[in-house]
Subunit: 461 residues, 2 copies
């Protein structure tokens, strides 16, 4: 008896979405018409006010919170059930430059060839509107009352590293209490199947630096003066063995291996070697790892050198012994590694290996965060995806990069976080000619609506 | 009977030098008044002509040879004996900038506080004139005929790396045939004793470079994309062990250890740890080596990193995997290492250790060159030093740097090369306020005169 009702419900939902598609696109265009470049605080306050009005128009109870940076907006709407779904979005955008590469002006949205072009159309104004459109459709199908509560949190500093969001979440846990969340953006793979990312690695970024002399010296003295360049090479070399394993004692002790279900999802992921060969011009993966091995390796921490600075870097030669050397590193961390602990282990490692003279400066840190592959929200998103896209969702138990998901997940009680969305592989987010395809937008709204529609039920005991 | 004659001879020599000191200083000032900045070919031709005239005025038979750069001048004068001493000098100077730091204009020579200030006064116009003054004194003492022949070779591109001198020497071996040589410049140690350098290490300078991808990549992919930064760190690490020993197979096979006499001279060298502590701010020498160990280590080749360039070097962090990395290296070589052979061994080493993707580009090469500590010319210079300075000469069997001495030594039959001269530790050569102290000049002329005076005798069977 459940299925026919559901079927009827989704027909109503989809019809409403289709009927209001133009309205939704107008909302995207209205937001995109307002520049909101956080990097230079251009139009961000005006855009925040547009978002306040938009959420209010959609029936949410809206609060605008001032921060030391741009305002954070929270909009809430209650549902029949006590369960609440949180949507995280942002209203700020990347600078549009270089302007000459845009086919139409970045802040004059235009629809052509079935796509909407504007800075922010994908990242992240279109995603925000898609969720509001889904919410409206579900509310309509349920005669005005949502089956679950929905809370939006929309910030204005995502493109500059979200300097205020973590503290805000900590301070407003009561306001943001929820049972699951939809992260900023999602979309489809080249084959047309939507992807679902369940986790992101953490980050520990540091700068190592060493000074061996007051001044650079003539290299004819290399047999007795200490070179900072060689000190740095040796310190770096001590961090990792030739099989890429980090050799810092205790570094991996908190690392949790993938579950059986994680491994199952990893095994189903598409082989991207052909694509990576094209993009990066590589023949093989690092150390000849197979595609299966690299998929599994996302559950291991990495130690990357971002850059090294030492000595003479101009043309020709300069017979000099460098007195100073520095290297920027980032470690990607897996659950349950803790950045501050890893920093301490790094320091201890350097001391123990005779590199007490190598300084370590913290550049940045993010915790890893991972939603269980077995979480019912994942199953809900996957079955909704099957229905809307007629394809199995591609589930990434973990992605290689890092994100501030942890800033929500931890304080809000370890909620599951997924990411349905409007994107595809060539949206040009952060680049000239950013756009969304209208068909993608429409499908994503239907996908998100099904998740909102089903969210109350997956919490039933 | 020999001693009294000698005594009489040196009295005549010293009296002549003293009597003509002002004249000599006028010659230095006349040369210094003529700018001759090879880096921008400013006044070099005019200065070459002044040198031609000066050598002719001193009774030498002069030839000026055009090169693709500045002219090379050769002046010859025969002696009673068939033995000939070669003097190598240059008439070009370093640019005088920054001009505002000069107390008097660089090309307006002036004598104040017992010193002659001008660009080129020390390096190398004063040295050239000192040798001519010594020659005049010896010739006068021997009633107009020198006991040995003297040949001057004066080039105009020393300050830009002597690009034409090696080829010139090869092409004019007949003209330059000699039994020993005096190198460009010399002088006294802080304690007032003259130093004699007998050798210089060779040089092999290369740039290693590696490219692992077509483009830099997001560091979230560090578990599967190859980093050029890590490739370079590992390639460098493979070149040397922790005790600074170069691990390139066969690299040291031609290295000749110091002789017993070399070791004796090395043991007598002043301990420079206190000075090096002050200059470089170091506590200890490299790897805690003792002063005795570092003196001995000048007979070992070195592998120095001049600089490393890879990845992001700006402020803050950038989560990027570098696709390109390069490192400039210089190896100092000892007799009888051959730069081209060492280059080939380096290539072979990289290939053998799995770094076939690391390119090696030659940046520069110089052969090592060393005069035997037991050569009679060394003993002559040392005993003349004792007489003039009333101090034992400090003999460096080898210095850590490199010089184009080899370009003369090899083609001219392995001649001994020494370097008496007018300098002291604070001449400011290459810097503002370059100067010579007149007392140093005068002593050096007396020292050089004794070497010219005795040079015929040390060749007697």
């Amino acid at each position: 008896m459940v299925l026919p009702v559901k079927g009827n419900m989704t027909v109503m939902i989809d019809e409403f979405i289709a009927a209001h598609l133009d309205e939704s696109l107008q909302e995207v265009m209205a937001l995109c018409r307002q520049p909101s470049v956080s990097a230079r605080r251009e139009g961000t306050r005006e855009c925040a006010d547009l978002v306040v009005a938009l959420l209010a128009r959609h029936g949410l109870e809206v609060s605008k919170f001032e921060t030391a940076g741009n305002p954070i907006i929270v909009g809430r709407i209650a549902g029949r059930s006590a369960r609440t779904l949180l949507c995280y979005n942002h209203y700020d955008v990347q600078p549009p430059e270089p302007l000459n590469l845009w086919q139409s002006p970045p802040f004059e949205p235009v629809i052509r060839d079935g796509a909407l072009f504007a800075r922010g159309s994908r990242d992240d104004k279109g995603e925000l509107v898609a969720r509001l459109a889904a919410l409206a459709a579900v509310r309509h199908a349920h005669a005005g009352q949502l089956p679950c509560g929905v809370t939006f949190i929309v910030e204005g500093e995502e493109e500059i590293g979200s300097p205020h969001i973590a503290e805000f979440v900590l301070q407003h846990r009561d306001l943001l209490v929820c049972n699951g969340a939809i992260w900023e953006e999602g979309g489809i793979e080249p084959e047309g199947a939507p992807y679902i990312s369940l986790g992101a690695r953490g980050l520990l970024a540091v700068e190592l630096s060493v000074s061996t002399m007051k001044t650079d010296a003539h290299s004819g003295r290399a047999h007795f003066l200490p070179s900072a360049a060689w000190r740095m090479v040796r310190a770096l070399q001590s961090l990792k063995d030739d099989s890429e394993r980090i050799t810092i004692e205790g570094f991996q002790s908190r690392a949790i291996p993938p579950t059986a279900l994680d491994l199952e999802y990893l095994a189903k992921l598409p082989d991207s070697l052909a694509l990576d060969r094209e993009i990066y011009g590589i023949e093989h993966y690092l150390n000849g790892r197979t595609s299966a091995e690299i998929r599994r390796a996302v559950f291991e921490p990495t130690c990357n050198i971002q850059g090294i600075t030492t000595g003479y870097q101009g043309d020709g030669l300069k017979t000099v012994i460098p007195s100073k050397a520095s290297a920027k590193l980032d470690f990607r961390l897996v659950p349950d590694q803790v950045p501050s602990e890893c920093l301490e282990l790094l320091r201890r490692h350097l001391d123990k290996h005779g590199f007490g003279d190598v300084n370590v400066m913290l550049l940045g840190a993010m915790h890893p965060a991972k939603t269980s592959s077995a979480d019912p929200l994942v199953a809900l998103a996957a079955s909704a995806a099957q229905e809307v896209y007629a394809k199995s969702a591609v589930i990434y138990p973990m992605v290689g990069g890092s994100s501030p998901i942890y800033a929500f997940r931890g304080p809000l009680g370890g909620i599951p976080v997924i990411n349905p969305g409007i994107g595809y592989w060539d949206n040009r987010a952060h680049a000239p000619n950013e756009h969304i395809r209208i068909a993608d937008f429409s499908q994503a709204v239907r996908h998100i609506a099904r998740i909102i529609d089903g969210f109350a039920d997956i919490g039933a005991p």
